[in-house]
């Protein structure tokens, strides 16, 4: 009788479809290294796993071979068939116990010393230059996706995964932050690697401010907040393939960036402005940013 009921009622999924609540973490007794699991449920069709997922996992594994110091380690990818329609893909990552957001929250009053910001930025850009040179966009760079080890090592996380989630998430009401999003994405026009540089600029400013730079509440509001600082772009700069017209925004002149980030150095302000450039083609690249005098001043 009891056996029967066990067979009859097998757990299908946790409530909410995800393990909100607990996450598994482990310590390797041999190396002392910590790992953590992140699982993604992928719907499978008659051809098995979606090709995009297979590709994405292959990409993550390929990037892994470079063993880049500023990319979170992906130790393994384990797939288990849950049902005919669903496969659970478990990613085994190295475990880092804090992200840049908690890191910045913990910084006491005067804020981070500029030398430390320089170091964090250099590592961040280094990881980003690596991704970009491998033709990978992060696209959702934010302090929550930047891990900082206890030794101050920066590790980028969560790139590429978006496409693994995507087949599920595209139609779900998903909550996302707009604060690190660049104008070209907000305006729904074509975008490329400069998107990550914009986010990096926002994060750079946040390292000094310890509070986000542009906190928009909607796409339009986000753009408004951006233009209040960098000024309303000229008619010529405004992309012509967008539905949102420039007339929706009031004309504004650029504000001195030091008004928003008073603690920044002169070279730092230069670099920040080059990152927060409206035109993605004129925005500095990760590679060039690493050569910026800010890092040697």
């Amino acid at each position: 009788m009891e056996q029967e009921s066990v067979v009859q009622y097998e757990p299908v999924a946790e409530i909410g479809g995800g393990a909100y609540g607990t996450v598994y973490k482990a310590r390797d007794r041999d190396s002392g290294q910590f790992v953590a699991l992140k699982s993604v449920r992928v719907q499978t069709n008659q051809d098995g796993l979606p090709l995009s997922t297979v590709r994405e996992v292959a990409l993550l594994k390929r990037l892994e071979q470079f063993d880049h110091p500023n990319i979170v380690r992906l130790m393994d990818v384990c797939a288990t068939l849950r049902t005919d329609q669903e496969t659970k893909v478990t990613l085994v990552f190295e475990h880092v116990d804090q992200d840049l957001r908690t890191y910045l929250e913990k910084v006491p009053a005067p804020g981070l010393p500029i030398q430390q910001i320089r170091d964090l930025m250099q590592q961040l850009l280094c990881g980003l230059a690596f991704l970009h040179s491998n033709r990978v966009l992060h696209r959702d760079l934010k302090p929550e996706n930047i891990l900082v080890t206890s030794r101050g090592q920066v590790k980028l996380a969560d790139f590429g995964l978006a496409r693994i989630y995507s087949c599920h998430m595209v139609l779900t009401p998903v909550v996302v932050t707009l604060w690190y999003r660049c104008p070209e994405v907000l305006l729904q026009t074509t975008y490329a690697t400069p998107v990550d540089i914009w986010s990096t600029g926002c994060i750079f400013a946040e390292m000094f401010r310890r509070t986000p730079l542009f906190c928009g509440e909607s796409e339009v509001d986000q753009l408004g907040k951006i233009f209040a600082v960098i000024g309303l772009p000229s008619e010529e700069e405004w992309p012509n393939d967008v539905t949102l017209s420039r007339q929706n925004f009031s004309p504004q002149n650029p504000q001195p960036i030091t008004d928003c980030v008073p603690e920044i150095s002169e070279k730092g302000a230069e670099l920040l402005l080059e990152m927060l450039t409206f035109d993605p083609l004129k925005r500095i690249s990760a590679f060039n940013a690493l050569d910026h005098p800010f890092f040697t001043e």
Partner: protein, 207 residues
């Protein structure tokens, strides 16, 4: 070695399933003889089982039941709040599936998205993976007011930050974000065609 088989209806049926491209052709070339689908299915299942066992041994963790086993790794279940945001499971599967079936008809964006992730890796990446933002990108102007009026489900994130909630419902009238991507060359259809040769071969199971 080519063995032309026109008569066998069963084989034909099977071939159609396996090679959708050949669906409309009159003649089916059968190069390697009939496939024992049952055997292949068993073989694949066995292989997957093997892989799963290897994973389980390597990590002393049962990924199927999500439970630790004794071994080199000392596993502990810890609260998500104690972990960086990144490690949290963000996939809302049930809801996604429900929404997907509701919107399955005539929603080009969903198919396009699933079909295109793979090609968007180049520096001139078009859209694809900015998954969370897609629906909003379709119609942000019209909805800008409603977008963040009720962050109803924001509670799923420990994050106290304000984020915008993206509605899934109305998005027919406004241009799709995909309209703005002149660079895209492949359509979801052509995308599907292409992998058949690669994908289909190892998978001859009929479910």
């Amino acid at each position: 070695m080519a063995n032309v088989d026109v008569s066998s209806n069963l084989e034909r049926h099977v071939a159609r399933r396996t090679f959708p491209l050949l669906d409309r052709t009159k003649v089916c070339r059968n190069l390697f003889g009939p496939v024992d689908h049952e055997e292949l299915h068993c073989e694949m299942t066995r292989k997957l089982q093997e892989i799963s066992e290897r994973d389980q041994t390597r990590w002393n963790f049962n990924f199927e039941t999500n439970s630790p086993l004794p071994g080199d790794y000392e596993w502990e279940a810890i609260s998500e709040d104690a972990m960086p945001f990144f490690y949290k499971d963000k996939v809302q599967n049930k809801r996604a599936r429900a929404a997907a079936s509701v919107n399955a008809t005539g929603d080009a964006s969903s198919t396009a998205d699933c079909g295109l992730h793979g090609i968007s890796r180049s520096p001139v990446v078009q859209e694809s993976a900015e998954v969370p933002s897609r629906p909003s990108e379709l119609n942000q102007e019209n909805l800008s007011g409603a977008l963040n009026s009720k962050p109803a489900r924001a509670s799923v994130l420990r994050n106290r930050r304000k984020r915008s909630l993206i509605p899934e419902a109305p998005r027919n009238s406004t241009p799709q974000i995909t309209d703005f991507f002149p660079k895209r060359k492949r359509t979801p259809e052509s995308k599907q065609d292409e992998p058949t040769s690669i994908e289909v071969t190892p998978r001859k199971t009929i479910r």
